[in-house]
Amino acid sequence: MTPASPPEALQAPLVVEFPFTRSLGPVQSAFLTGLRTRTVLGVRTTDGRVLVPPVEYDPVTADELTDLVEVAPTGTVTTWAWNPAPRRGQPLSTPFAWVLVRLDGADTALLHALDAPGPDAVRTGARVRIRWAAERVGAITDIACFESYDGAEGGPAVPHRVTFTDPVRGIVAPARLDYTYAPGRAQSRYLRALADRVTYGERCPSCRKVYVPPRGACPTCGVATDEQVEVGPRGTVTTFCIVNIKARNLDIEVPYVYAHIALDGADLALHGRIGGIPYDQVRMGLRVEPVWSEHGRYPDHYRPTGEPDADYDTYKELL
């Protein structure tokens, strides 16, 4: 599907995944709690329409809605689409129809899946009913899907007066998206050189400043940087902090020093950890050099070179 990109451009998978914790307002709470007990609730608007699924605010008037009603688990398809290749996370793993269903007693339609043998078995106006999930937790997926139905039509909406015990207060909504990250030309050049433990900056053709890491553009001139310039390996600590709290997903013993380091020949500082010296002896102006680990893409840390400290005036513009 995807044409191969030129060999010089790097790519790697990027997974963005989190189980979002969503608290619910009272109307949503009632609806999802109702689904858990195979009850479908709607909400009545001030002008008498019944909205299913029930929303918190009237899409026409913006009024806050609270008047809950119960509707039937049966309804009519108002439109549909045949999904021949279900995707991750969708309600059914076999081909199905997406449908908008107006439940009996409701004036609006609910989006869900319809289990059907094929597209020719689906039509607008078809009668359907909810097929409940075997295990229900108080989520929209408590409706497993809809299925064909030839029984009696449900009646009008009736007031919902039951107070649920142990109502659903929130849902956990896991979401995973898979990306392929491509850092582009300039960063790919930089990263490839870094694999040989050589640090390349790129010089702006206009202001002549050397950027490291290069990001493709001189950010002050808005033009491409393309002249590679080797910088470092030594540099100067311009400023730093002492980290006493473990950072997320990092296995570094605290305390340690996180520093801004201006590599020799670069016109701005990059970041790194300082080692090989007690944390409370690190100072602005300290001269350092990289220490590589066997497999690291970046230097594991920087250590003092033993040179005299750089004079403040030599790096204050790089702070």
Binding site: T108, A113, C221
Partner: protein, 359 residues
């Protein structure tokens, strides 16, 4: 109202995958295109505004890196919308109307190639009732298309059949043969298209936009500045945008009242346009928009090929404004309508009227 015009438009070549360039590497040449066209440097621009999406990029604050391509030094007056660039243009337009700026640079970009776009767009939906079902964007458009196919064909133009939709696809991609930036060009005749299998019935592949990466930029200028920067400025005679309810189940999917209202407010109905650039990613949506905009048969619709030829997310709406303006610039049109959309099944719509001075 102060006179404001689009005086330059540029865009990248839209491609399925641009992994060889970063976002800034894709955007920067387009910025240079439009700035060179008016002979200005970024620092001479009064206001800059951009549109993009973190969710497309898969990274938070992704727009901050694209700003590197502008050259924001000395610091510039600048803003960003997490919307299609058409709305960035709207923000910039209002900024020029206040008199605070004489010129504005607007840009937008989107790379759909890093992610699975159909899946990414599910994250736009009601996070409680709909997003957990992961209904993809093509399926939602198919629900809308089926509603249109089910509707009676009436005097106002509601309703359509699959042959009509195939006709939209064939006309758009044939027109795109003249657009060097388009991603998808050329088309078999409608009858041949109808022989193809469905993608998500009732939509076939030809009814859907290509997925791809791209960027676009325009320069706006006010009054005499516009006249100085452009031989024939595309004057913004009116611009408005409106929103609809979010849930598909509460909307009449065959109609787009927000488009109608925005068009009224933008002055579309005061005189017929001779060209329209509609942001209709799906063929069925062009049918719906044409009706709401009351476009006569004589109006040239999407001579660029429209979103069916190239649909870089976040930029495709801005491109409609740019293409319409470019037609005015080159004298191919005197009064153009431009439209942009955002959200599932045309939830948000923007309409602008652009005119050239009488020749």
């Amino acid at each position: 109202m102060r006179e404001v015009a689009i005086v330059a438009f540029g865009q990248s070549d839209h491609r399925r995958d641009t992994a060889e360039t970063s976002e800034v590497e894709m955007v920067m040449p387009v910025l240079h295109q439009v700035l060179d066209a008016v002979g200005l440097r970024a620092g001479e621009i009064g206001f800059t505004c951009s549109g993009s999406s973190d969710y497309l990029a898969g990274r938070a604050f992704s727009f901050t890196m694209a700003l590197d391509g502008v050259g924001a030094w000395p610091p510039i007056s600048e803003s960003h919308v997490e919307m299609d660039g058409a709305w960035a243009l709207y923000e910039a337009w209002t900024r020029l109307l206040t008199g605070e700026a004489e010129t504005a640079l607007v840009y937008a970009y989107g790379k759909s190639s890093p992610g699975d776009l159909r899946e990414v767009l599910t994250r736009q939906l009601d996070p409680y009732y709909v997003a957990p079902l992961w209904p993809d964007s093509v399926s939602l458009a198919a629900l809308q298309a089926q509603a249109l196919l089910d509707a009676e064909v009436d005097a106002e133009g509601t309703g359509a059949d699959e042959r009509t939709l195939a006709g939209v696809a064939a006309r758009s991609r044939t027109a795109a043969e003249d657009n060097p930036h388009a991603q998808l060009t050329g088309s078999p005749p409608p009858e041949a298209l109808l022989a193809e299998p469905y993608l998500v019935r009732p939509l076939r592949r030809h009814d859907c936009p290509p997925i791809g990466d791209g960027a676009a930029a325009v320069v706006l200028a006010a009054g005499d500045t516009a006249r100085r920067l452009c031989r024939r400025p595309a004057w913004i005679r009116g611009m408005d945008h409106r929103t609809e309810a979010h849930s598909l189940g509460v909307r009449n999917l065959t109609r787009s009242p927000s488009t109608r209202l925005a068009a009224e407010r933008a002055g579309v109905f005061e005189a017929p346009p001779d060209l329209a650039e509609l942001h209709a990613p799906f063929t069925s949506q062009e049918v719906i928009l044409r009706r709401e905009l009351r476009l006569a048969e004589a109006v040239r619709v999407n001579p660029s090929g429209g979103a069916l030829a190239a649909n870089p997310m976040m930029a495709a709406g801005l491109i409609r404004l740019g293409e319409a303006a470019a037609a005015v610039h080159r004298g191919a049109c005197d009064r153009a309508l431009a439209h942009a959309t955002s959200g599932p099944c045309l939830q948000q719509n923007l309409v602008a009227v652009l005119e050239g001075d009488v020749r």
